[in-house]
Symmetry: C2
Subunit: 428 residues, 2 copies
């Protein structure tokens, strides 16, 4: 018959297995982050290349593609190292990876379309965004599945920072297109404002969940002179009256200014990933020590029948002082040593139950911050099903609603979901 201690040991082993998987996932997340960074640069250069009708940026773009290819190989090697025979990593992570692999398969064809100027900048940008969002979904999955609150907190910070960086990348592309066109237009300006707003909200969640060391690092990484330059260009882009002229020569300044910001973000992202990995390793070490203690304890348990002793009875008491004194002769393990042991096992089990409760509470709080994204996704799904829209169209519709009504995307999502009950059941 397996004892309570035996199940405690099993629980600890599960914890360790999950932590080891998290450490592996963290390495994966870091690799994905580097690929996202490379693809963001590639997207920006592809945009400039397409915008110049292939007259400029060909060399820079080519060099960046080579770099992306190197990093892609590293990511693929990371994927390969995952144990696809075991079920520890979970169906969701594997499905996200399958999706990313399809995107990477399609990347050479996308590059050929850019190379031959067959696609518009907008179409190429949309394609890169889709691939990047697939990579970010891998990170999101990791953040949503970690069951250690501290690790989950850091993953949420990391995910939001990466997402914020992606909004910064899209801001760079949108601003580049506006400057390149030489003329302000309302749609582009609204999109820019939306991207700046989304970016800031992501960075706020990062600040809420990251360690103090990291928020300090991020403050330090932003140079005032860069920030001032960027804000000036943002002001020019956003406040020039629709149809008014924009100085095309500022295109390069804008690109460099945004790039400096995005590169600074990358250094903080790397620090975040390193901190996460260190935390996983620290947790594994602690859990392994706990496990060794439990196993030592197990070796000391005398081979008697499960405790009918008075120590066991304290299961029903709340406070230690309420615990009955030793009643000799009542139990089979009523002698000093066995009693001591029984009590410490009971305390371990009760500690564990309390810990479980605390962990579950903290996790709920951390994960609540992921709900915003989930609500937006859910509202998008609803629009897709009921109005037969593509994902991009649904997203655009909601963003347009947000802009027209001057509301946040999450508020529009809530409004859409509130309507769900009055809509007919979608076809499955």
């Amino acid at each position: 018959m397996k004892s309570g201690l035996c199940f405690l040991i099993a629980a600890k082993r599960c914890d360790i297995a999950e932590l080891q998987q998290l450490a592996l996932t963290s390495a994966l997340v870091n690799a994905c982050g580097r690929l996202v960074h490379a693809l963001q640069r590639e997207r920006g250069l592809s945009n400039l290349y397409l915008g110049s009708q292939g007259q400029r940026w060909a060399e820079e773009r080519h060099a960046q593609v080579q770099q992306s290819l190197v990093i892609q190989d590293e990511v693929l090697a990371c994927f390969d190292r995952l144990d696809t025979e075991a079920s520890v990593h979970g169906a969701r992570l594997f499905s996200r990876i399958a999706y990313v692999l399809q995107g990477l398969d399609a990347l050479p064809a996308l590059r050929a379309r850019v190379e031959s100027l067959a696609w518009t900048p907008a179409r190429a940008t949309a394609a890169y965004i889709r691939l990047v969002s697939g990579l970010l979904a891998v990170v999101f999955e990791a953040a949503d599945s970690a069951s250690d609150p501290d690790i989950s907190r850091r993953l949420v910070a990391l995910f939001n920072f990466m997402q914020g960086k992606e909004f910064a990348g899209q801001e760079r592309a949108t601003g580049s297109a506006l400057f390149a066109a030489g003329r302000a237009d309302t749609a582009g300006q609204q999109q820019l404002l939306h991207l700046i707003d989304s970016q800031e909200r992501c960075l706020q969640v990062f600040a809420d969940f990251a360690s103090e060391a990291l928020t300090t690092a991020w403050r330090g990484a932003q140079r005032h002179e860069h920030l001032a330059g960027l804000e000036r260009l943002r002001r020019i882009l956003c406040t020039t009256a629709a149809g008014g002229p924009l100085d095309a020569a500022l295109s390069q300044t804008w690109f460099d200014s945004c790039t400096a910001r995005i590169d600074a973000m990358k250094t903080v992202e790397d620090l975040l990933a390193a901190e996460l990995l260190a935390l996983c390793e620290q947790r594994i070490e602690a859990a392994t020590a706990d496990l060794a203690n439990f196993e030592r304890l197990k070796d000391n348990v005398p081979a008697t029948a499960p405790g009918q002793g008075s120590a066991a009875l304290s299961f029903f008491d709340d406070s230690p002082d309420e615990r009955p004194l030793v009643t000799p002769g009542l139990g089979t393990s009523g002698q000093g040593y066995g009693l001591q042991l029984e009590r410490s096992i009971l305390e371990l089990v009760q500690d564990q139950a309390r810990r479980l409760q605390t962990v579950s509470n903290e996790l709920d709080t951390v994960r609540a911050s992921l709900n915003e994204r989930k609500l937006v996704e859910r509202a998008k799904g609803l629009l897709m099903a009921h109005r037969h829209l593509s994902e991009e169209e649904a997203h655009k519709t909601m963003r347009q609603m947000a802009m027209n009504q001057n509301r946040r995307l999450i508020e529009v999502a809530e409004a859409v979901l509130a309507m769900a009950d009055v809509l007919p059941e979608p076809r499955r």
Copy 2:
């Protein structure tokens, strides 16, 4: 290099492993339900035995203890069958089981205290409640961890039904004590109202999430004549002025009437468990068939480099009609067969991504219903930490607040949690 299809296969294998684990957990849940039922009867009879100062009910109680022991052995055998070497079941389930095992270890000592009339009915009842709530926590864990929405829905229905049944059991005990005392008192009456209310809310959640077959079965299981008798006794208990006389002779009628209701609940609980197990098996069968299809597909994939063909490019398109036509010579697998295959893999991956989204949305909705319990637990934990209360004291405090303010327990929990920010940080 592992392909997208390879990760799809791995994801499907994870699904199957989880479903198999769920099927095992369902069997476990059913066994726990039977032990809960036996302990509820044992608690009721122990109460009557203690109330009669050991003059009556000794034989019935003894027979019930023997029956509980038989079922306990079945539950322990179920626990033993769990694979404690593997990590599929998860740390939380194992921790809950370790807790229950400690409780079962203490059960003989509890029974000895009842036998020798050493404990009051109230103290014995509290001890049984603690053990039953440990067993129900195992079921809750299963409901909170299932990642198939239909299975999760049924587990939520089952958990709430079992919890409702436990409230019915506590109602039986409280009413018995009132009739046995021969005198109405406000505290007992308020507790009774609270138990009836909690019970009805659990049964409402059950009705919201159970299949139509099961809600029909539950309606059928409640005989009108029984219900009318029970409601009449409830009215007598709740409306007799405090201090007014209650007919002690009704004690037996009350007990039998409650027992008939609880036994009827047990038959519905068994149907729920059977339905759950059948659903798990059906899902395993479907997933196994999917897996076989995927593997057949994999055998057919030609051993060329990952698709640089135009089929891959459709990753970036939303609607099928937007997909580019075959462009011969552009890809390495541009011939008819490979292209067809590549497209079907892409469709599988995209299907999977969409399914993941839908599943995640549905799961969130189902699990939201578990949040009420989580909020109450969280508020209780807060009170325990800040006011240094035992768990039972914290629960009592909240219940008292609910009664005094005529509010639901969940409302009190929300109020407690809303205060959390103004409270000092508890010591860890």
